[in-house]
């Protein structure tokens, strides 16, 4: 999908001499294993969604020791680069290469989108592959992406980006006519660039959404979404005057983190508890949410609570805007809330819960398309029904 992106917005931006931050700042090396260990411990093989586990680790309220760890990780990343090369060689020698481990190590990086981690893991597969024909490589990739997908079925963007990458490999006609080595290096190059693509997509979305944020408006946001943050940041940079209402985002309290970020930008923020959405909806002009995945019906799967916010907004005729990169478009079609792979996560109620009491642990819900107004994607501003069109064109 990236080849059709509405990047003209960025080009226009560049003409205006707004320097685009260098995407290469995203480090390309896997984070150190120390953090991976802690996360592994966080994620025992119980029924807890690895995806939301990671998210919680990334977006939960920042604790000081987490910061220290992250700091250390950045410091060590350069050394790791060397290690990575070594390990590449080592794979050929004997140590089995596991795409899942690779992915997990990438995933630990807080700044990296899930999809980017997946693509990088697949790139590592290509790098380690001993295939000599395109077909062999394709089969190997297929196997890797399948195992990757099955390793965490709760992450939609992981599945979507694996599919997308496979699509690119099997569909790009240029690959068929090149000799194997150049095709391979082209694939690797493409996957390396994916981080950039993901970053660029975020920029495009931020630019596209600027027309919708007007002076004096009040925006309700739910959850912590890098894209939404980028949108708001850009609006603040553009000297727009607006106010943000942040939901608390229990149990991860992701809203707290977003309000922190916004406060740093001097944007007036008000924090709500999740149940105060309807109470304050009348002063809201628009709702902005991100998405874990955009599904084929045009609806979104997002953090728990999005659906009820959309319902309230819909009943009060407030627009609901979704900001999502196009690599989050997934070939899923949930019919209702229960028609999704369950993604449970632990919830801390602060007090012990008796055994007899059941706890709803699902981490996300599905918002049907009729409650969404527009989707801001790097393909442009879309109505929900266009999502399926894009998916059909991409996958069929």
């Amino acid at each position: 999908m990236w080849y059709r992106s509405a990047s003209f917005v960025l080009d226009r931006q560049r003409v205006r001499n707004d320097p685009v931050p260098n995407p290469d700042t995203l480090s390309i090396s896997p984070p150190p294993s120390s953090m991976a260990d802690t996360l592994q411990n966080l994620n025992p093989k119980t029924n807890v969604s690895a995806y939301y586990q990671t998210r919680a680790a990334h977006h939960g309220v920042v604790t000081s020791d987490w910061l220290a760890q992250a700091q250390a990780a950045v410091g060590r990343s350069s050394e790791d680069e060397g290690m990575l090369r070594e390990s590449d060689v080592g794979v050929a020698g004997g140590k089995a290469f596991s795409v899942i481990d690779e992915f997990n190590s990438w995933r630990k990086q807080p700044d990296l989108a899930e999809a980017v981690a997946a693509i990088r893991a697949l790139a590592a597969v290509i790098r380690n592959s001993q295939a000599t024909t395109m077909m062999e490589l394709e089969i190997e990739l297929k196997r890797a992406s399948d195992s990757l997908k099955s390793s965490d079925t709760t992450s939609i963007s992981l599945t979507a980006s694996c599919d997308l990458f496979m699509r690119y490999v099997t569909r790009t006609s240029a690959l068929e006519y090149e000799d194997f080595n150049s095709a391979r290096s082209r694939l690797i190059e493409r996957s390396e660039k994916f981080g950039e693509i993901s970053y660029k997509a975020r920029r495009i979305i931020a630019m596209l959404s600027q027309d919708f944020i007007f002076d004096g408006c009040t925006i309700l946001v739910h959850g912590f979404s890098r894209v939404v943050l980028e949108v708001l940041k850009t609006a603040a940079q553009n000297k727009k005057l607006f106010r943000v209402l942040c939901t608390e985002g229990r149990p991860d309290r992701t809203g707290l983190r977003l309000s922190n970020e916004l406060a740093k930008l001097d944007v007036p923020v008000k924090l709500l508890i999740d149940s105060a959405v309807a109470y304050s909806m009348d002063e809201v002009d628009m709702v902005f949410v991100g998405a874990d995945g955009v599904v084929e019906s045009g609806g979104i799967i997002n953090m728990m609570g999005t659906y009820q916010i959309a319902l309230v907004a819909h009943s009060m005729n407030k627009p609901v805007y979704v900001a999502a990169e196009s690599y989050k478009f997934a070939r899923l079609y949930p019919l209702d809330q229960k028609d999704m792979a369950p993604a449970p996560r632990p919830i801390d109620f602060g007090v012990p819960i008796p055994d007899k009491v059941e706890v709803e642990t699902s981490a996300r819900d599905y918002t049907p398309p009729q409650y969404l107004t527009l989707l801001f994607t790097d393909l442009g501003v879309l109505t929900p029904s266009v999502v399926s069109d894009e998916l059909i064109q991409l996958y069929m």
Binding site: E296, G298, L335
Partner: protein, 624 residues
Amino acid sequence: MDPRRAPRSVIDPKVRRVGFFTGTGQMLPSSAPFADLSSSPSVGKSLSPVMIPPPRHPSDTLSSSPVRRSSMAAAAVDSLAVGSYNASELLPGTSPSGRARNPELSDDLGASPGRSKRSPAFASSSVPASGLTTVSVVNLHPEKAVSASVEVQLDRTTTSKSLKERTSKAERRALQEAQRAAKAKGSKAPTTASGVVTSANVKSAKPSKIVSQKNDSGPVATPEKKGIDRPSEKDRKKDVPHPRMQYDDTSRVEKAKKRAVVKQTEARNRVELFRHLPQYELGTQLPDLEAKFFQLEPMHPAVCKVGLQYLSGDICGGNARCVAMLQAFQEVIKDYSTPSEKTLSRDLTAKVSCYVSFFIQCRPLSISMGNAIRFLKNSIAKLPLTLSESESKASLHLDIERFINEKIILADKVIVKHAVTKINDGDVLLTYGLSSAVEMLLLHAHELGKQFRVVVVDSRPKLEGKLLLRRLVGRGLSCTYTHINAVSYIMHEVTRVFLGAASVLTNGTVFSRVGTASIAMVADAFRVPVLVCCEAYKFHERVQLDSICSNELGDPDAISKVYGSRDINVLDHWANSENLQLLNLMYDAMPSDYVSMIITDYGMVPSTSVPVIVREYRGEHIWM
């Protein structure tokens, strides 16, 4: 005239005119003025393009008695029963029985009763051709010219029967019709009465509506109008009824009828709103066809067989009909040899069109069949000229084979594969009627060991659900069977509704067995997701907002008769009651709002994405 036909004239005036109201019943009086024109086909045929209207005798006009007039009107009415927007075109389409009676009529019609009385009215009232408004201004002149010529014809027209009729209304109708005719005069009907003559012997068995009216467009009449006794192959091709022919357009219908191999008797007491659709009485055609079997020179036996199976209802269901048709075409192609001086692609296309028209006469085409025919014609057209005949035949055979395999059989498998992911343990699935895709889906899900329950909802008169029920229960599924009346009761325990479809239109409207829309509506009200299983070859780029303009009418007797219960015979002789019309619709249109998901061979898509599939795959589908 056939007494049974008489009631129709009465029916029409009572009906509120909405939408597709047509002028059928009302053309009668117009026939009166016209009637004096050459009424017998033979006469009409012989009229020269430039007609000199025979003088009308004032004495004649005076002589007509009211009774006569009314009876005449009645006669004219039934004769016109075919229904049409366009009176002028209707005129030539006379039928044999009319001819036989003509002599009788001549005297009374000669009087042109309607005319004498009505001429003042003519100027003031009219019905526009569209029939949507009731009053408008009309120009008289063409009418007059016509009427003059009509006299000749009318000499032979007849009615022996005098029915008390609401003359006044009929007369008014006549006026309108006449004016309509005048309007439409410009468009001359290229048909000829002689065509009818040939079929006369066949038809005579069942008296049908006949009008001995000559096309008013006498002066404009073209040479080709006369003397085509046997429609040539070319004509056949030309006259293949449009799949969505407006059956209230009398002239078209007559034209089609002339060529028709299957003589269908049209049902009486048709509902006004649905007059544009063909409605036939069941059971009259078979002996007729048998008698004619050896006269059907161009008809391939395989085609004939399939057509008759459509007719008798032995083959029904979109896929089954489509496959049967394609297989018949395979036979045709196998036995085909190009006549000398003709090219395969053209001649075969013509032949196929001719067979298709036969199918349409047996039963209106389904959209799936229309698409398949389109595919076949395209693959004939794209045959390289360099191919030898046998090669072309082999390639066509293969194309058809592939179409059946890929677009129908494989598509169903893919649909089942997709849809089965939406069935979870503990689900209660509701389905309506009989859909092959849904049946396969349920059986497959059962084979996978999913634990679910099925609610089969059924409705009269077809009770297709019983078939499905028997097959499901035979395989050990746990089922509930109910009729559509109970759907609102049963819906609250349902978790998914799976429906089949005859077609899915571009705006997401799902065209399916009548009753499906109600099921979907109830499901929507209960917030139960509605999943429609439909192969992509049934998608159509048409947009339709209601189920009126394109539909199919079934046998009205089917709804009046309740089998197995003797005490419900209130409707036994319903056809004799003029105020009763039975409507047995076959399909209805379900708005896209009720559809949660459409499952096709291209995956699961929302109903808003139908146009994308149509756009992206239409080409592939045709040029496969």
